[in-house]
């Protein structure tokens, strides 16, 4: 079939129409991208660990039954890998308290920075800085996200706080990437330009290019005049401006399965009880950003660690963090934690269902995606960073052997990060601190 580019007008007509399951943007893709379906990576981060007995499946490696927490993922069991016995070993090294280490190491696999920014528990005179390395999502965004409109997208559900305990993503050492908590802002950023008429869009892009050229020049000239630490900060800003400029001409397409979600009336993004509603909208936006190939790397962070969020829609009246500190024998509160885990699994199932409903090649978008569900700690009443709850979902285009429950005896989670990178087509030998790397975690890759 002859490749051709659909006109904006054709695409825009699709806006009001019925969403049709199309193979991945075949007719619209340029020839380079048409050769293979893209792989995508998604981080699904929930804080405060889990309730292990209700998380771990029963049965054998390949014939297992989900416990109450993971039960909502039943339809995707064949596409799931439940990992047991993997440690955030790196998170037992370097500064920080368990929550700070857990969240800061989860995707970076390396020590937090020494610093004077954040006090930490157990040692009140001591302070810690940000995470000490690039996170896996940002690393993959650098490798896979260069042709898409956004190298990555970070969604938050009432993350709201802004400190080391509230960041999973880093561009590099000491460079946290904040998530967007407001679905309306996210929507505007991701989809608004796509509705503009083509002539106006071309004009806008030309103007932006002129302006950003001049701005880039300003940052460049300033950078050379600064001392080391100020220069790092200004250079990060410079890189961000360059990224915007570079992507001005990135394709944006609407049609087929790619339709901007319809938002309801605006809701207050930080109001506790709006949590489920915001979550659904953010998941819709995340799924559609992947389906539309506006990005290939995304994360959704469910509030922050030590969260004061009350899961009132589950009939609860105590904050999640408080509940997480309850003893194993406090059955009422352990049940509340199981309910929270179950609810999160429902949200993950919702995302999977969206991605799985769009055919792509012989499979679905989900089959070309890797979703990593991770947390900061194993459980709240120990704060252990060993045997943490980890789940991988999606097929990475056939690179992962899914449908299994794998048991390890203290494997390093850096090796999981390495294995995921391999699955995504970026075969690194180490990730994070090489001291905690032995190579791709065994048993995951085909």
């Amino acid at each position: 079939m002859k490749q051709r580019t659909l006109s904006r007008r054709t695409l825009l007509r699709g806006l009001g129409g019925v969403a049709v399951g199309l193979p991945f943007l075949g007719a619209m893709a340029d020839s380079a991208r048409a050769t293979a379906f893209p792989k995508r990576f998604v981080v699904f981060f929930t804080g405060l660990g889990t309730v292990r007995p209700a998380w771990i499946p029963t049965g054998t490696e390949t014939d297992f039954t989900f416990g109450p927490i993971l039960a909502p993922l039943e339809p995707f069991k064949k596409k799931t890998l439940v990992l047991e016995g993997v440690d955030y070993e790196s998170a037992y090294h370097g500064p920080g308290d368990p929550h700070q280490q857990g969240i800061g190491h989860a995707l970076t696999g390396t020590e937090l920075q020494e610093g004077s920014l954040f006090p930490y528990a157990c040692n009140p005179g001591k302070m810690v800085g940000w995470a000490g390395g690039i996170s896996l999502d940002q690393f993959l965004a650098d490798k896979l996200g260069q042709t898409t409109r956004f190298p990555s997208l970070e969604f938050g559900v009432q993350v709201q706080y802004a400190n080391v305990s509230a960041r999973i993503s880093y561009r590099g050492p000491g460079q946290p990437v904040p998530p967007e908590d407001d679905p309306y802002q996210a929507y505007t950023r991701i989809f608004s330009d796509l509705g503009t008429d083509p002539e106006a869009l071309a004009r806008l892009r030309a103007q932006r290019k002129t302006v950003l050229d001049a701005v880039t020049g300003d940052y460049n000239r300033l950078s050379t005049r600064l001392g080391a630490s100020d220069r790092m900060k200004v250079d990060a800003h410079l890189e961000a401006v360059r990224e915007i400029e570079k992507r001005l001409d990135a394709p944006g397409v609407i049609g087929g399965s790619c339709n901007p979600p319809v938002l309801g009336a605006p809701v207050e993004p930080l109001e506790n009880d709006n949590y489920p509603e915001i979550a659904k909208t953010q998941l819709d936006l995340l799924a559609m950003s992947l389906i539309c190939d506006l990005t290939r790397v995304a994360s959704i962070q469910w509030t922050t660690v030590q969260t004061g969020k009350v899961f009132s829609w589950l009939g609860q009246d105590e904050p999640h963090h408080t509940l997480s500190h309850s003893s194993d024998s406090d059955t009422k509160r352990q049940q509340a934690l199981i309910d929270i885990g179950h609810w999160h699994a429902q949200q993950l199932a919702y995302l999977c269902q969206k991605l799985d409903s769009v055919p792509e090649g012989d499979g679905t978008v989900l089959d070309n995606t890797v979703i990593l569900w991770c947390s900061d700690i194993a459980q709240g009443n120990t704060h252990a960073r060993r045997d943490v709850p980890l789940l991988v979902l999606g097929g990475a285009g056939g690179a992962l052997r899914t449908g299994r429950h794998l048991k390890y005896a203290g494997a390093y989670h850096n090796d999981l990060l390495i294995a995921i990178s391999h699955a995504m087509g970026v075969p690194v030998t180490t990730f994070g601190n090489p001291l905690y790397c032995n190579g791709p975690l065994s048993g995951l890759l085909v």
Partner: protein
């Protein structure tokens, strides 16, 4: 002048260390220098000029909104939807925590486009010249120079003017004069010289590598500290006429600026962060337990505390003691009805209301503080005690041990809050730290989880006796929150804490070793003024940390 000082804030740390031996390391003062902290420091001499660190400072959302308002008369608050600042040490303006990622850079871009479009919709008001008579190029150049001076808060270099002229010419060629001006505005609003406070100091060092800040840099430090915004014309004039060179000249500008309404906004911004009032937006309250609670009351709680502090600082005695002891507040009709105050204001505007002196004690009895530290359906002696320790005494408390179950004890019909929290003092694993919090929090027990006065708890009489331990100078038992307020008002530790918090907020960074002499001067001036907050702000403009910086040492890329 040479004098040896051993700073009280260091001394405090050392004392606390001694006292903490029996408290399972549950100690630490925020005033301790970061790092090792609790060891007593050797005597330190204030010799010469020691400026401390001067990291480049990016605008916060608050500062961006104000600056756009003062620069262009644009009061749309475009930065309110930017990603929130990273918070460190309780404040959102700490230089080392504020970076720029792609999402924020995009938000700057979109905001600049929208602001510029609004600005050029009335070219006559924006331009200092008429392009029809002056000529388009000439008028554009005049605009770039005059507007640029305000946007970058200093005169532009010829090179900068030339580059902006190029942008203008491109835009004019595409879509005409107005578009050229619009693009120039977009560039300026995304420039580092607008978004950051870029400082190099004067060329000649006063000693070693210490340089005075340039007059324009001093002007920006003053305006962003005291107004959270750009300099006004008077301040620009002072800079350009060389009237910001001495301490007295800087103090004189600072005093003028404190009389401007913008100072009240900036001080309110500090107060809201200092007291954690932003938490009020997110807390949950159970309306079956608290029938007088409704969503709309939360912003009023915050407004009360900010109006009260503004009154104390700008209208009243201005001393920090009143903040903890005043038996009046600022209420409107709705709040008066909420508190059940008889004969209060009849309208929705805030008025000074005298309160029962046996039941009110400054911010300590404000619903904002009491509700923000309370649970959805009960009070929290722990969090109230923690609030006093951390916010008012600058102490750092560790969180509970990893294995601690810290659910508030379930509410029982037959027990008061104090009785339910008894385990904290009985269980040795908890007592070490909770002895610093709970007995302070018990003093607040006449106030329920939304800050309303109550005579009984579960129908049982309330015992609001409390105790302070491990403080500097105010240890001992007390009866109720009014006595606690009086104790805090007399506390050197609380006063120094306020000065320390202001240091961090004003300078956008945590105090370090090099700041000992500057900090000491600030503390002394605060004391000499009778702990007057406005005078504290003036003293913050008088230090080496404020007026000098280290010369920039660049490195080859």
């Amino acid at each position: 002048m040479i004098h040896a000082v051993r700073l009280p804030w260091l001394l405090g740390g050392a004392l606390a260390f001694g006292a903490a031996a029996s408290l399972a390391a549950c100690s630490g003062h925020i005033g301790d220098p970061p790092g090792e902290g609790t060891e007593e420091a050797p005597a330190f001499q204030c010799v010469g000029t020691i400026p401390g660190k001067s990291p480049i400072r990016r605008m916060t959302r608050f500062e961006y909104n104000n600056t756009v308002r003062d620069l262009l008369g644009d009061d749309t608050q475009p930065a309110s939807s930017f990603v929130p600042e990273e918070e460190a040490m309780g404040f959102d303006n700490q230089a080392t925590a504020l970076g720029v990622t792609q999402i924020l850079a995009e938000q700057y871009m979109v905001a600049a486009e929208q602001i510029a479009a609004r600005a050029v919709s009335d070219l006559g008001a924006l331009l200092p010249c008429d392009p029809a008579t002056a000529g388009e190029q000439a008028c554009a150049t005049t605009f770039i120079q005059s507007f640029g001076r305000r946007a970058y808060r200093r005169p532009l270099t010829d090179d900068e003017v030339a580059r902006l002229q190029d942008v203008f010419s491109w835009g004019r060629g595409e879509e005409g004069f107005s578009s050229g001006i619009e693009l120039v505005l977009q560039v300026m609003l995304q420039s580092p010289h607008f978004l950051y406070r870029v400082e190099f100091g004067m060329p000649d060092p006063v000693e070693a590598d210490v340089v005075p800040l340039s007059p324009h840099e001093i002007a920006s430090r003053l305006s962003y500290m005291l107004w959270g915004s750009m300099p006004d014309e008077a301040l620009f004039a002072a800079a350009e006429e060389g009237r910001l060179g001495t301490k007295d000249e800087v103090a004189s500008e600072a005093r003028r600026m404190l009389e401007d309404p913008r100072a009240r906004e900036a001080v309110a911004n500090f107060n809201a962060q200092w007291l954690g009032l932003s938490h009020l937006d997110n807390i949950k309250k159970d309306s079956s337990t608290y029938p007088k609670f409704y969503e709309g009351i939360r912003p009023l709680w915050r407004a009360e505390t900010l109006a009260f502090l503004e009154d104390v600082i700008f209208e009243g005695e201005g001393d920090i003691g009143s903040v903890f002891t005043a038996n009046y507040s600022m209420l409107n009709a709705e709040l008066a009805s909420f508190y059940g105050v008889e004969g209060g204001p009849a309208t929705q505007s805030f008025e000074r209301v005298e309160l029962d002196s046996t039941k009110s004690s400054g911010i300590l009895t404000h619903a904002s503080v009491l509700a923000a530290t309370g649970k959805p359906n009960q009070t929290s002696p722990v969090h109230r005690g923690k609030f006093v320790r951390e916010r008012l005494l600058c102490q750092i408390l560790p969180p509970p041990p990893n294995n601690a179950a810290f659910n508030a004890p379930d509410i029982r019909p037959d027990a008061t809050t104090r009785e339910r929290f008894a385990e904290h003092s009985e269980n040795p694993a908890c007592a070490g730290c909770h002895v610093k919090m709970d007995p302070v929090g018990f003093g607040f027990e006449h106030y329920d989880g939304i800050g309303l006065y109550r005579d009984t708890d579960q129908g049982l009489p309330i015992d609001d006796s409390g105790e302070l331990v491990d403080t500097r100078g105010i240890d001992g038992p007390f009866e109720g929150v009014v006595e606690l307020g009086q104790r805090l008002a007399q506390s050197e530790e609380a006063r120094q804490c306020v000065a320390t918090q202001w240091f961090r907020f004003a300078y956008g960074r945590v105090e370090g070793e090099d700041d000992r002499c500057s900090m000491s001067e600030i503390q002394k001036a605060f004391e000499a003024s009778g702990f007057n907050v406005k005078e504290l702000l003036v003293s913050l403009t008088q230090t080496d940390a404020f007026r000098y910086r280290r010369a920039v040492v660049t490195q080859a890329p």
